[in-house]
Symmetry: C2
Subunit: 80 residues, 2 copies
C-alpha cells in the first residue's frame, strides 16, 4: 500500500521559508505571486493490506514524528 | 488563482532525508514502512485569471527557482 502525506504549516503560523520564496520570485520578475506557503510531501510504502490499520498507524507516525502538531497540520492519502 | 506545486526527488537519485525518516520510523516500531521519499509541497496565490498564462509562468518559476531539475521532478495543479 502506498501512502502520501502532506505536512503544512498552520494558517496562523508565520512561514519564513514561504516569505523567502515569495521575495525571490518577486525579485525574479514574478510579480503576480501572492502568499506562498511551503510544506512537506512524503511518499511511504507500507507493507500492509489492511486499510483501517494503515490509517491508524499513519496517524501515529504523523503525530509522533512526521509533523510537529503544535505548528503543523497533516493529511494523508492511501492507495492500493 | 491558487497553485499547488509538488517537488519530488527523481526515482534514481538517493534521498538521504527519506532514508533517515525510514530509519527513525523503524526505530519507533513502525516496521511495516518500506521506502520513504521526501519532497516539497508549495501553495502559491497567483494574481491572474488566465489559466494558460499561469501555467507558462508556473513552469518558469519551477524551472528557475522552485525545483532543481537535475535531481528533482515537479508537477503543479491550478485551482480557481
Amino acid at each position: 500500500m502506498k501512502a502520501t502525506v502532506y505536512v503544512t504549516i498552520k494558517q496562523n503560523v508565520l512561514d519564513p521559508q514561504g516569505s523567502a520564496v515569495q521575495g525571490a520570485l518577486h525579485t525574479m520578475g514574478f510579480a503576480e505571486v501572492g502568499k506562498v506557503r511551503v510544506g512537506k510531501y512524503l511518499e511511504l510504502e507500507l507493507d500492509t493490506t489492511d486499510r483501517s490499520e494503515a490509517e491508524t498507524r499513519l496517524t501515529a507516525m504523523c503525530e509522533k514524528l512526521l509533523a510537529n502538531t503544535v505548528i503543523e497540520d497533516y493529511r494523508f492519502e492511501l492507495e492500493g
